[in-house]
Amino acid sequence: MKRIEAVNDFVIKFANVNGSGSASANTLFAKSILRMGVPVSPRNIFPSNIQGLPTWYEVRVTADSYLARRGGCDFMVAMNPQTWAADVAEIEPGGYLFYDSTRPMPASKFREDIHVTGMPLTEIVNTHYTDARQRQLFKNIIYVGALSALLEVDPEVIKQLIAEQYKGKEQLLPPNYEALALGRDYALAHLKCPVGLTVKAADSVGERIFAEGNNAAALGAIYGGATVCAWYPITPSSSLAEAFIKHCKKFRTDADGKAKYAIVQAEDELASIGMVIGAAWNGARAFTATSGPGVSLMQEFLGLAYFAEIPAVLFDVQRAGPSTGMPTRTQQSDVLSCAYASHGDTKHVLLFPDDPHECFQFGADAFDLADRLQTPVFVMLDLDIGMNERLCKPFTWDDNRELDRGKVMTAEMLDAAKEFGRYLDVDGDGIPYRTYPGTHPTKGSYFTRGTSRDRYAKYTEDGAAYTDNMQRLLRKFETAKDLVPKPLTRTAQHNTRFGVLYYGSTSPAMDEALDQLAASGLHVDAMRIRAFPFCHEIAEFISAHEDVFIVEQNRDAQLRTLVINELAVDPAKLTPVLHYDGTPITARFIAGEIAQNLKALNVTPIRVVAGNN
């Protein structure tokens, strides 16, 4: 029978029960491979529930650093009877099944075309442990031990990681080491080790770090100088605010234990954005973290922030909508509701980080942008980059960088200036000057409102003043085009009339898909959009190609809507490639869709290296 053989290049999946403590054991397994210098890309697939429902942990071991979800599974660790059938069915032919053989299983429950390894895990823990919780926990460590033998993962590395994990609680080390050895020894003694899939120490990780996007974005907010955070818990954004709390305790507590920050868990999203707006109006850098339903609730306030020109930063960690949708699944489906948030004519600035490194960078930049433009700025994450550990470039910071507070008039400036008009376009860039409340006893005070007012912030219902203001806001949006992050281009090895646009968490799948397409002789230039509004480079990329694909993780091609609307592109030129079932998009899917389209246009493949397919 066929047997999948691979070194440092396979997918192993753990099927567990939610709340059974398997998470830390699984992460331990993934990290140990990483420590061997072999890139991994793990993903949690968890239910909207706390305990008892199925959860999966999928680890892609990838020598070539393909960090997207690959799809399929080569080695299944089937620990959950509820999902046994589906889990077994998912294994690639010639793949491997590892299961708890304590209770004998009828042959009918297995497959002919896979390699089955049974280990009496329950029996082992029951003989070695009496306490129920211990049995539960150590069972997980034991299977990690067994896997170290089956896949040749260096046990010393695992022990090293356990040691780091329990730093300070050293008494916990021996029992964990024992459990590990128990599993490993059993496997070496009774199971055929190794299987066709093995991990071999390498040096392919380099200086890269292994981080979650939410944690990185929260750190970005710290470096961006955010002092006020108002949030309301919602999956998958809660861990962003919680990471900010953690970072603040560490980096923002002064000598006498006082907090150089204020974090409020608000009563709902209307309140959290309201607090952010109030704090930003009053000169503090403030943000909130939320997800789709929160963005919907914030619409009225977002219109106020646009019209009253309040800097405010929002981290939208997107999940599958509409409505409650699938809270623990990923999507890019809030693009439109953020870009045009609120009734009336509005346009908002969006940033699209593609990995934790950019989550950090954009997380910090967003605050400068918001102050510079005096308008809300959205950092658009999603569950896939927000809540999974991802290998990425290390975080970097230039110590000469100063917080850019934008156009703010101080008391001195007010005394020097001949006039102050809150909404006067002094510089022609559509961005007026503002003052913080309390700046000057007699100068620079003004009234902020969501109702129409003139250039001096005086209330008016005059149509001309209203139009004047609305047009200035458009000028300001023009200015934004030069301030937001530029797109990044990857040019194909061969000239091509085809281009592809993509953004955010689609990035790793796209990179891999481009390689696959190139390998099969299909060449496509690619541009990763990193922000809205769109700069001229994007328009030029589109006009430089005859057909442009646009890859998104939503049903309605929302970014495409923005592109055709804002850049006046003929829709016929933009072919949507849409993946929206809530799982992270794969290279297989993208390459498949694009290849199919090109076939339809009967494009003849140009092989780069003969026979390289």
Partner: protein
């Protein structure tokens, strides 16, 4: 960023306060409200209170929601920054502003529709959090700006100008605030400036969540017979529990009363709230008794006014958040950005 206001030159006859400001310096634009609207009297009382307390006008931030009442911040304290936000959500905006700069005085102005109907949730939560502010509800029992529909404070059974009878229970914002943890709770009447001005002064000096529920008749839509928020009705049913006299530090204490009828409460800033009791044995420092009293007087159809409850040891959101004494909005790069060295450590920990 604390700024000492420079006294200005004025018409010699105008009286000035300790800062050398005249009452004019506390005024705002001309009101566009209906002639006789209770809200205008409240604006006047606010001006009076700030003038008498010698507050630097620009150190006050005025925030409001939407409504005739919420328009009023334009009509007082012209040298203060103001924020006319969205309907019912002023409390959250004020909370955020307060967090950004603990050194300013926060004055929230709202209406009964703004606070008790659409805004009830935020009203409740801002009180729970003990935000240091003066929150004034200009309570007329109707939606003035949208032409007279019932609000959530209009009493069950009261009659609208068009003759409709209100069937829902009225919300008593003062009672609610007390239950939710506000530390200074008063009720007054726009028509009684002598009672209102000291209550506003006490609130402005209070270092916690202060609520003033001020009944403020709407002459356009709720001043008719059958309304329980009309000038006549309120005058008839007004039942003041005490009379407040605010003594700031620099004023020495003079007048003397026989002990029994007096209650003195020293506030954090050193000012003293001297309460002359008009109700036998009413103790403004006993929260539960005060709540009970409110329920009973309401059952009797009376409108209890005065300083209903005050906690002389209020805690505010900054205390709870243990924030630094300097305003967060003045912290700069050096204070806030950990720098590349710290980042290197973080990177190391993520490998």
């Amino acid at each position: 960023m604390t700024y000492i206001a420079k006294p200005k030159l004025h018409h010699p006859k105008l009286p000035t306060n300790a800062l050398g400001f005249t009452r004019r310096d506390y005024e705002g634009a001309i009101s566009t409200l209906c002639a006789g609207c209770g809200h205008d009297s409240i604006s006047a009382a606010i001006i009076q209170a700030c003038f008498e307390l010698d507050l630097p006008p620009h150190r006050i931030a005025k925030l409001s929601g939407i409504g005739c009442s919420s328009k009023t911040p334009t009509y007082f304290l012209g040298n203060s920054h103001g924020f006319n936000s969205v309907h019912g959500r002023m409390p959250s905006v004020l909370t955020g502003a307060n967090l950004a700069n603990r050194d300013l005085i926060y004055l929230g102005v709202s209406g009964d529709g703004d606070s008790a109907s659409i805004g009830l949730g935020q009203f409740a939560h801002v009180m729970r959090r003990g935000v240091n502010m003066t929150y004034i509800v200009e309570n007329n029992g109707v939606y003035g700006l949208t032409k007279g529909q019932f609000s959530a404070t209009s009493d069950k059974g009261s009659k609208s100008k068009r003759g409709a009878i209100n069937a829902d229970e009225a919300i008593d914002l003062a009672a609610l605030a007390m239950q939710l943890g506000a530390t200074y709770v008063a009720r007054s009447f726009s028509g009684d400036k002598t009672q209102l001005v000291p209550l506003i002064k006490g609130a402005l000096l209070h270092t916690g969540a202060a609520l003033l529920d001020v009944i403020s008749p709407c002459v356009a839509f709720n001043n008719h017979a059958g309304s329980t928020k009309s000038y006549d009705y309120v005058r008839e049913h007004n039942d003041a529990v005490n009379f407040l006299d605010v003594i700031t530090m620099h004023k020495e204490i003079t007048a003397d009363y026989s002990p029994g009828e007096l209650q003195e409460i020293r506030q954090h800033d050193g000012s003293i709230l001297r309460l002359r009791k008009l109700h036998e044995g009413y103790d403004a420092s006993d929260r539960i008794a005060a709540m009970n009293f409110l329920q009973e007087s309401r059952a009797k159809g009376e409108i209890a006014t005065g300083l209903l409850y005050v906690d002389d040891e209020p805690n505010d959101l900054h205390a709870a958040s243990n924030t630094v004494t300097v305003p967060l909005n003045v912290l700069d790069t050096a204070d806030l950005v950990p720098g590349s060295a710290a980042l290197a450590k973080i990177n190391a920990a993520l490998r």
